[in-house]
């Protein structure tokens, strides 16, 4: 709803003494300390000889919904102004949003008015449930909201105040107050804000750090922190033992033979594959990439996709893989960092496993695996005895050993039943891609990208496979169309959009309709 086309554009009129009321609204996600923030603002106003009134609709005790706080203030002239109890469309002077999408919500609700509203927003994201549950990437489009702020607000102060608060060991209410003070939207000196924070008593130092950091950014004195949204992963470094250096060098040499466009992705893929299995596996990977390059030409999108998705296809998640990752030294260090363990503290680690009969059987050598798969009696017995959750303490020797043994199956992975089925699947898919590439490179690139659909474990994995099959099933209907690649991409996106696969079925129907 866009209220700016309303017939009556009504600004507040001042008092006979020319005094004006300042209106401030804060839209926060429950639990972000919006209450603390409003109390601070009221205190600052009153400390500066203003009368202030705050209201909130806190709703129920839950803390995940959007909550709105509202403050009105006016210089104290001895008479009590009549303050309103809720923000009105087109009548908000200062809008504080403690999260990017909430900022967008404020705009949509008409609380941000051109030529009137100063928008103070933290640009970090707290994904809503609807964004998290998509099988693919369901997150909302942030830049669109930031752009809208520029259009809707008179003055915008928007940066990642969450990160600032975290760095200062504080919470976002402090940095939001800093953003407000720094914006200069209120006629109060910085010191009075700091006084109020000191008076609040709790976590004063951290709050002041966050307040000042945000204040400086708002004033343009310092740079805003880069958004956490897009971290740049450091280029992974491989540890290569002496006696393998030569073989590895040979592989790296093959990389340089690839077109420059392909080299980065292929380089990452090669490292991943070799880390997953061994040098020979790396060679096998590069063979696949070479095949794609042979059919490709600049800008080599086909080959880049081959480099990307072959690496993923070859590194399927089986028990040895998971056990390997969970027993690495680097992993232990990472966890320590993640959960913040000090040196004088002890870290206990429990892994959650639930190996079903399928995983067990396919982790056996081919022959044996097939043999047990046929033994229904044995399966039943396994399910009775072993098909339950396992908690494994990887900080203890026994627990660690059990996984370490699993991970040491790596050298014989090629002989395991799972490897056979995976490779059969990969070969079929890759062959199809190459076949298509002869006539339609764009489409082939999309066929390769379809491997994105295969992920997860057990049932989720099975669902992924069936979606993959469905999407690939449309290939014959699409071949020969000049928008084939585009449609293949749409099908994949549909498959990633919802779990039930309704969107995918819908898209498939459309394809059938014009194929028929």
């Amino acid at each position: 709803m866009n209220m700016h086309s309303k017939p009556i554009v009504a600004r507040r009129s001042p008092g006979p003494d020319g005094e004006k009321i300042i209106t401030l609204a804060a839209l926060a996600v429950g639990g972000q300390g919006g209450g603390v923030l409003t109390n601070w603002i009221v205190a600052v106003a009153e400390a500066n000889g203003y009368r202030a009134q705050s209201t909130s609709v806190a709703g129920v005790a839950q803390r995940t919904g959007a909550t709105i706080y509202y403050v009105e203030m006016c210089r104290d002239t001895g008479r009590m102004p009549v303050f309103a109890l809720s923000p009105a469309i087109g009548d908000v002077d200062i809008m504080i949003a403690s999260e990017l999408m909430e900022g967008g919500r404020a705009i949509m609700r008409g609380f941000v008015t051109p030529g009137r509203t100063t928008m103070i927003a933290s640009t970090h994201r707290i994904p809503a449930v609807s964004e998290k549950v998509a099988p693919g990437d369901g997150r909302a489009n942030g830049p669109e909201v930031i752009e809208a702020m520029g259009i809707a607000a008179d003055h915008v102060v928007a940066f990642d105040m969450e990160t600032i608060a975290k760095k200062a060991g504080s919470v976002i209410s402090s940095s939001l107050l800093g953003g407000l003070a720094g914006s200069g939207a209120l006629p109060f000196p910085k010191e009075s804000y700091e006084e109020v924070i000191r008076a609040s008593g709790r976590g004063v130092e951290a709050s002041l750090r966050a307040f000042n950091a945000a204040y400086d950014v708002a004033q343009g004195k310092t740079e805003a922190p880069v958004l956490e949204e897009a971290p740049k992963a450091p280029v992974p470094v491989l540890h290569v033992p002496e006696k393998l250096k030569k073989k590895w060098a040979a592989l790296e040499a093959r990389l340089t033979a690839l077109p420059t466009e392909v080299q980065e992705m292929a380089g990452l893929g090669l490292k991943k594959v070799v880390d997953y299995q061994d040098v020979a596996y790396g060679a096998q990977y590069l063979d696949m990439v070479d095949k794609a390059v042979a059919l490709d030409e600049a800008p080599y999108n086909l080959s880049i996709n081959a480099a990307k998705y072959c690496a993923r296809a070859l590194c399927y998640d089986d028990i040895p893989r998971v056990a390997d990752i969970k027993t690495r030294a680097t992993r232990y260090e990472r966890v320590k960092g993640e959960v913040v363990v000090k040196d004088d503290q002890v870290l206990m680690l429990t892994e959650y496993f639930h190996p079903r009969f399928e995983e067990f059987a396919t982790t056996l050598p081919r022959g044996l695996g097939r043999w047990v798969q046929k033994r229904k009696g044995f399966e039943a017995w396994y399910e009775k005895r072993f098909d339950k959750g396992r908690r494994i303490r990887t900080d203890s020797v026994p627990g660690f050993l059990s996984l370490w043994v699993m991970s040491s199956l790596r050298p014989i992975r090629r002989r395991l039943l799972r490897h056979e089925s995976e490779m059969a699947h990969v070969d079929a898919w890759f062959a199809t891609a190459l076949e298509v590439a002869k006539t339609d490179r764009k489409l082939a690139a999309e066929v390769l990208a379809n491997y994105r659909l295969i992920k997860g474990y057990s049932d989720t994995h099975a669902r992924g496979l069936s979606k993959f099959a469905k999407v690939m099933g449309a290939l014959d209907m699409l071949k020969g169309r000049d928008d084939a690649a585009d449609w293949m991409r749409r099908l994949r996106t549909a498959a990633l959009d919802d779990v039930k696969g309704e969107k995918l079925d819908g898209a498939l129907d459309t394809v059938r309709s014009f194929a028929a």
Partner: protein, 714 residues
């Protein structure tokens, strides 16, 4: 009471003559009760009046000194019935609850109370939760005032006016022998302001005095023939007395220029919004000074005919500003004017929306339309037509994700619904009846469970019709919280199911508190409470009601167990209702209690274990199946920054409280091995440290040994 102290607020209640009280509206009302010599207070918590209950619960000391009895009533009906103490005795009593839902529950007692009438002032403080963000249906309490002939105050939303209304309410109640409702909107309850306090007064007669000198008057008891006398009294004695009081005391206020050709009749509660609208139309300044003639009804029922008629006299048009539907006030005024053959044009609904909240813009548009039509000359030209180029603002409606409230981080109810989801994957979808309380969030994503909610404690009752003819057929599942269970559920839901041999499944979600209303104690709360008897077992109560099949689950986070128990309940041969009591403490309140304790223990050098969950991002494939069974705020998505990967992976942030739901769900649903539980031990014992470092040494030896033989990421 909840793991929260209201000591600060309690101190404010002690303020004396001339001191400036600063705080929220609802706390101001609490203080005003004490200043007006209230003898007893009861009520049932709920937004927006919970605070009154919470603070008084912590104010035993003051209440004791004053001889005031306070209790947290079992329900709104109990609270209203409590006012019976004011029927025969000159004791002022006050009760409070959320309206309109609370008034619905109270209405039986309310009718009886209103019929016999009262001797001591009886005040019912109803917190209106109307409009944006309301958690309940949008109905008006006004209808109750009319049908039961109790009076209704709706003061202007500022602390002095609200506080004044409390005292006036008591007087009015005594003078007219009628209970009085004091209606306060959710924003007035949460409004931060000031008023000048006066000393607290000890009641002239305490409830103890009354007990020691019992009294009864037959003609006050609701039984024919007294009932017919009461009916007559209401109309011939009580209402006229109330109307006289309203006029004599100037309860309703007149603003602006009486000679105005147009006028506004507004509910006190909407005054500020009206003034702001007038201000934005250049018809009032920021202090509320205006030439527009206004009659502000701080008492919305009864209306004094003569006062209304006088106001309308000589006017061309009058606008009634009445929030909500139906427009009872407008109807009464129309009726008065018609009977008197008045020609004044009556406007109201139509110019203003029929229903919904009268927000700032709505009021500006409504008043603007009224003046434009009936007094265009008053309206500055600038205001009538757009004086600004409307800027086209991008429509974000497709971009913005909805953000409905949901379960807190670590909520013990989440795993219950995760388990229910898993059961449905197995046995198919079921008809699920929900109830009032946090657990109602099951209807939201990611769980999407629950078809109806019929009222507090009525979840299982609302499944009563679902009787399956074929044995072994599908059963309904209904949820009820511990709060709802004690409020009404024990009899209306469980008792009813037993009596009618229902075969359905009832899940009682027991989180140790009335959590959604702020974590108040209830009968089955596990906390020690000086003034209440807690720790009453739900299971025993249910068995006492005659339920044969009862299962107690002491750790709801055990998703596998909850799933299997629910499955059993849905499939067992056993006849009669199957009741599962799923118990784990509300995490919000648990954290309030445990966090400081743990911090202190760690400081004192005691061994403290802090659990936290994490995700191995190299194991997570980014399918987000875990989140479709969780929706936990601390479990979110993050980019890996790895060009080889397209989709964000699961990540758990610092706010995780280590409840275990992630791991348990991953296990029960056989999702993936990505989750790990980290337990950080502060002040570990010496032997513990030794054991740990020994294990580390052996483990790193194994690791180096393996890395020596292969190429791997450093």
């Amino acid at each position: 009471m909840a793991e929260r102290s209201f000591a600060k607020e309690v101190q404010k209640l002690k303020q004396g003559e001339g001191e400036t009280f600063t705080g929220e509206g609802i706390l101001a009302i609490t203080k005003a009760l004490l200043e007006n010599g209230v003898g007893y207070v009861g009520g049932y918590q709920g937004s927006p009046i919970s605070h009154l209950m919470d603070v008084l619960a912590d104010a035993q000391e003051i209440l004791g000194e004053l001889g005031v009895h306070f209790e947290a009533s079992a329900s709104e009906a109990t609270a209203t019935a409590m006012l019976a103490a004011s029927v025969h005795y000159p004791i002022r009593g006050a009760v409070t609850y959320k309206s309109v839902v609370g008034t619905n529950v109270a209405s039986d007692a309310l009718s009886n109370l209103a019929s016999g009438g009262v001797t001591g002032g009886a005040l019912i403080i109803v917190g209106e939760d109307y409009g944006e963000g309301s958690s309940i249906m949008q109905e008006r309490t006004y209808a109750f005032a009319m049908k039961s002939q109790v009076w209704m105050l709706d003061p202007r939303p500022n602390l002095p006016s609200i506080v004044d209304a409390v005292g006036k309410g008591f007087e009015m109640s005594e003078i007219s022998n009628t209970p009085v409702m004091l209606q306060v909107g959710i924003r007035s309850c949460h409004v931060h302001g000031h008023f000048t306090a006066s000393d607290n007064k000890r009641p002239a007669m305490t409830v103890t005095d009354a007990l020691e000198n019992p009294k009864r008057k037959l003609d006050r008891i609701v039984l024919p023939p007294a009932t017919y006398i009461h009916e007559a009294e209401k109309l011939t004695k009580r209402k006229p007395a109330a109307e006289k009081f309203i006029v004599d005391q100037g309860i309703n206020e007149r603003f602006g220029n009486p000679a105005g050709k147009v006028g506004l009749i507004v509910q006190g509660g909407t005054y500020n919004t009206v003034i702001r609208a007038l201000n934005r139309l250049d018809l009032a300044d920021i202090y509320g000074d205006t030439d527009i003639d206004m009659l502000v009804l701080n008492c919305v029922y009864p209306l004094v005919d003569q006062q209304i008629l006088d106001f309308c006299d000589g006017k061309d048009a009058v606008l009634i500003v009445e929030e909500g539907h139906p427009n009872y006030i407008e109807q009464q005024i129309a009726h008065m004017l018609y009977k008197q053959g008045k020609a004044v044009k009556l406007e109201g609904k139509g110019m203003l929306p029929m229903g919904g909240e009268y927000t700032g813009q709505v009021m500006v548009d409504g008043l603007g339309a009224f003046f434009a039509e009936h007094a265009a000359d008053l309206l500055p030209v600038a205001k009538v037509a757009t004086n600004e180029e409307p800027v086209e603002i991008p429509d974000l409606s497709q971009t913005l994700p909805a953000r409905p409230p949901g379960f807190c981080t670590g909520c013990p109810e989440r795993p219950i619904f995760a388990a229910t989801k898993l059961v449905e994957e197995d046995l198919g979808e079921h008809h699920i009846s929900s109830d009032i309380g946090c657990h109602l969030f099951s209807i939201m994503p990611p769980f999407d469970l629950g078809a109806t909610t019929m009222g507090y404690g009525l979840g299982p009752a609302s499944a009563a019709a679902f009787h399956n003819e074929n044995k072994g057929g599908r059963r309904s599942i209904s949820f009820v919280g511990d709060g709802g269970f004690w409020h009404n559920g024990l009899t209306s839901s469980v008792g009813n199911a037993v009596f009618n041999k229902s075969d359905n499944v009832i899940v009682i979600v027991d989180n140790f508190y009335s959590a959604a209303t702020g974590g108040q104690d209830i009968l089955s709360s596990r906390a020690e409470n000086k003034t209440k008897q807690t720790q009453n077992s739900i299971v025993t109560a249910v068995k006492g009601m005659g339920v044969k099949w009862v299962r107690q689950i002491d750790r709801t986070y055990d998703v596998t167990k909850v799933r299997d128990t629910l499955k059993e309940a849905l499939t067992t041969e056993e006849e009669g209702p199957k009741v599962i009591v799923a118990s784990s403490e509300c995490m919000l309140n648990k954290q309030r209690r445990v966090k400081p304790e743990m911090a202190k223990a760690a400081k004192d050098g005691k061994r403290v274990v802090r659990p936290r969950f994490g995700v191995d991002e190299d194991v997570c494939t980014g399918d987000h199946a875990c989140m479709r069974l969780s929706g936990c705020p601390s479990l979110s998505v993050k980019d890996t920054g790895d060009p080889l990967r397209d989709d964000p992976v699961a990540a758990i942030d610092q706010t995780c409280v280590g409840c275990g739901n992630c791991g348990e769900v991953a296990d029960a649903a056989v999702l993936c091995p990505s989750f790990y539980q980290a337990e950080i031990v502060s002040n570990p014992s010496e032997s513990e440290k030794r054991r740990a470092s020994r294990s580390r040494r052996i483990i790193s030896w194994l690791q180096t040994r393996r890395d020596a033989k292969r190429i791997a990421f450093a």
